[in-house]
C-alpha cells in the first residue's frame, strides 16, 4: 500500500517552509529540491476575483521521508507547514481525506 502526500492548496501560502525543511532534512545542495512550490496566478478572473494558488509538488528526490517515518515522525514538510495544509498517510486514507473538500490534491511520489 503506497503512501500519499495531501495538500490543501486553498491554504498554501507559498511560504517555502516545506521546501526548506525538506532541503535540510535531506541535506540537499543549493538549487536542489525535494519538494517545489509551483504557482498558478495571480490571474484576474471574470468576476473580479483572483486566481492565485500555490501547489507544492514533490520531486524525484522525495522518498516521503522514509527515515523519519521509521522513527514515528511525519515527513518533514508536513511537520513544518505553518498553515497545516499538508497531510500524510496511506493512499487509502488520503483518498478519503482528499474528497472531503474542494481544492485538495494528493501526490504519490513513490510506490
Amino acid at each position: 500500500m503506497a503512501n500519499a502526500l495531501l495538500i490543501d492548496y486553498e491554504y498554501c501560502t507559498g511560504c517555502h517552509a516545506c521546501e526548506v525543511s525538506c532541503k535540510k532534512e535531506k541535506n540537499l545542495a543549493r538549487g536542489q529540491w525535494g519538494i517545489k512550490i509551483l504557482t498558478d496566478g495571480p490571474r484576474e478572473l471574470p468576476d473580479d476575483k483572483w486566481e492565485f494558488n500555490n501547489i507544492p509538488m514533490p520531486t524525484s528526490l522525495c522518498d516521503l521521508c522514509a527515515e523519519r517515518l521509521e522513527s514515528g515522525k511525519d515527513p518533514s514538510c508536513v511537520h513544518n507547514c505553518p498553515a497545516n495544509c499538508m497531510q500524510f498517510g496511506t493512499v487509502e486514507e488520503m483518498s478519503k481525506e482528499v474528497a472531503k473538500k474542494g481544492n485538495r490534491v494528493i501526490f504519490v511520489p513513490v510506490v
Binding site: 529540491w33 509538488m57 482528499v98 474542494g102 490534491v105
Partner: protein
C-alpha cells in the same frame, strides 16, 4: 460522491492541449484557464546525469470537471484530448485505487 482528476505527471509533456480544450469547452476568454500547466525544472539533479523536468496541469477555480459533458456521456474535455492520455476524470473512490498503483501520480479534487 466527489469527482476527481487524476494526473500521471510522468507523462505530461506540457503541450497545452488540456488548457486549450478546457478553454474552448467552457468558452473562456483569452488569458483565462480552467486548467493550467505548471512546470518544475529543468534542473540537473546533483551528482547525477539525471534531470528533473515535470509539468503539472492544475485545475483552477473555473474547473467544474466538465459536468455538462459528463451528462451527455462524454469525458472531460482535457482528459478526452490529452495526447498522452495522462489525465483521467472519475469518482474519487475509483481513482483512489488507481493513484496508488504507480509513482508520479496526483489526484485533484477541485470541488467537493
Amino acid at each position: 460522491m466527489a469527482k476527481a482528476l487524476m494526473i500521471d505527471y510522468e507523462y505530461c509533456t506540457g503541450c497545452h492541449t488540456c488548457e486549450v480544450a478546457c478553454r474552448k469547452s467552457l468558452g473562456l476568454d483569452s488569458g483565462q484557464f480552467g486548467i493550467h500547466i505548471l512546470k518544475d525544472g529543468p534542473r540537473q539533479i546533483e551528482g547525477t546525469k539525471k534531470w528533473e523536468l515535470n509539468y503539472l496541469p492544475v485545475p483552477t477555480s473555473l474547473c467544474d470537471l466538465c459536468a455538462e459533458r459528463s451528462e451527455k456521456g462524454m469525458d472531460a474535455s482535457c482528459a478526452h484530448h490529452c495526447p498522452t492520455h495522462c489525465l483521467v476524470v472519475g469518482n474519487v473512490e475509483d481513482l483512489a485505487i488507481e493513484v496508488g498503483k504507480k509513482a508520479n501520480r496526483a489526484l485533484f479534487v477541485p470541488l467537493a
